[in-house]
């Protein structure tokens, strides 16, 4: 066992609790469990008795992460993903998979925060999400959710453009543009890997959000440098057939 000292002290505390609780009585039926007063056997709580359920979710709403530590962590994530990959696509897939669970979580957190902020007027600065939020039912509200609130939560600003594919063959393709994605700022890609975009991580986040809302989609990141914005990145969202089919049904039903 390689517990650092702090953990081992925590372990001994929870052991004490366990031995104190077990001889007295059997665990109570779940309906009568008091979360605060009793500690069920086997549960390890931090020494300050605060579990994740005792912490408020909005406390870190305006908390900001240092850019340097993010860059360092993200650099490590890329390195980690780069081990044993077969090619650039495989690397991008791995980054995408790292972002995906994050998207699922952010979605719930985003809605929780917008729900609770409507009662308190603290966050009236973000104008578009003033009304109580609705789950997105159609593609467009979903894209606005990603383009606006999600981007603001992640990067403190909206994304730069939202476009629909003009080609009639691919009506299921949408594009979200970020002129200067934070994730690529401190990543310098070698020449022989110029296909690689580490924003695949963000694409994974977007994919998680879409999937969580029930919109099956494949999202990929592509470098599209312009003269003004050398690291401009386009996120290409390809929605699945089932989504497009449902979209038609909902359009006929008049659901917005």
């Amino acid at each position: 066992m390689s517990h650092p000292p702090r953990h081992s002290s925590m372990l001994s505390i929870s052991n004490n609790v366990q031995t104190a609780a077990t001889p007295s009585e059997k665990p109570l039926p779940p309906t009568q469990l008091q979360a605060t007063s009793q500690t069920p056997p086997g549960l390890r709580v931090p020494s300050n008795r605060k579990t994740i359920y005792d912490r408020h979710l909005n406390r870190t709403r305006n908390g900001e992460l240092s850019r340097a530590s993010f860059a360092f962590l993200f650099g490590e994530m890329v390195t980690y993903a780069q081990r044993r990959v077969t090619g650039i696509q495989d690397l991008e897939r791995r980054l995408n998979e790292q972002g995906y669970p994050l998207g699922l979580r952010l979605l719930d957190l985003l809605f929780y925060r917008t729900t609770s902020s409507t009662s308190s007027s603290a966050l009236s600065s973000s104008s578009t999400s003033a009304s109580p939020p609705n789950r997105p039912l159609r593609i467009l509200p979903l894209l606005h959710l990603i383009h606006g609130p999600l981007w603001r939560q992640l990067f403190n600003r909206s994304a730069d453009a939202l476009e629909h594919s003009i080609s009639p063959d691919t009506p299921n393709e949408y594009m979200i543009t970020d002129n200067d994605p934070l994730v690529n700022t401190y990543i310098s890609v070698p020449k022989e890997m110029n296909q690689l975009s580490c924003a695949a991580f963000v694409a994974g986040i977007i994919e998680g959000v879409c999937d969580g809302c029930g919109f099956e989609a494949k999202v990929s990141a592509h470098n599209q440098p312009s003269e003004l914005w050398p690291s401009r990145t386009i996120f290409l969202l390809r929605f699945g057939d089932s989504v497009m089919e449902r979209e038609k049904v909902l359009e006929r039903a008049g659901v917005k």
Partner: protein
């Protein structure tokens, strides 16, 4: 009033369930479901609650609210089902079964002071067609949650309950050790849910 609350993942995996009774108007917080056979109590609630998933999936795309209100009724057991849908597609389902209209509710173990008001409540429940039963006083409106499962007061109480559970669910989901589709085993979460049940239902 007996409740059965369950959380289902977007792929219909049961993540959490709990049965509890009302704590309002002298209830002792223990679920007493009434099914023809006592042995059915354990699984009939699950059976009824899962059968409402079709209704839920229909309602899901009709409106964007997270709280979908009362979506289904199962008349043979006079059960009512309310639903809440998180943006990530997890479903919260609450089955509520009001106390039996005819018989006095079996709350002999409840506190003596409360049994009186409880029988009054069930009296109002038996005449369920009395529209204004819950409109008189504060006392009556709090007890009407049990008496009238489709009244606005009940909807509001269930909504409050669901919102509180949602908050705790988000905290669960935010845990880095939680992956989608995993069962929620935390006793703290269970305690929080039953506390929310005591508070609102």
């Amino acid at each position: 009033m007996s409740y059965y609350f369950t959380i289902l993942s977007p792929t219909d995996v049961p993540l959490f369930n709990i049965a509890f009774g009302t704590s309002k108007s002298g209830g002792d917080g223990i679920a007493r479901f009434r099914f023809p056979e006592a042995a059915q109590n354990t699984y009939m609630t699950q059976f009824i609650i899962h059968s409402s998933l079709d209704m839920l999936e229909e309602a899901q795309w009709m409106g964007g609210n997270m709280y979908l209100k009362h979506i289904d009724t199962y008349p043979p057991a006079s059960s009512y089902i309310s639903a809440f849908l998180t943006p990530s597609g997890t479903r919260f389902l609450l089955l509520h079964q009001p106390p039996q209209p005819n018989l006095p509710p079996s709350s002999s173990s409840g506190p003596g002071g409360g049994s009186m008001s409880l029988s009054v409540t069930s009296g109002m429940g038996s005449s369920g067609l009395f529209g204004g039963s819950g409109s008189s006083s504060g006392r009556a409106s709090s007890s009407s949650i049990a008496a009238n499962p489709t009244s606005p007061q009940t909807e509001e109480a269930v909504r409050q309950f669901m919102t509180e559970v949602y908050e705790n669910y988000v905290k669960t989901v935010m845990s880095p050790f939680y992956r989608r589709g995993m069962e929620v085993k935390s006793p703290v979460f269970r305690g929080k849910v039953s506390a929310a049940g005591r508070k609102w239902l």
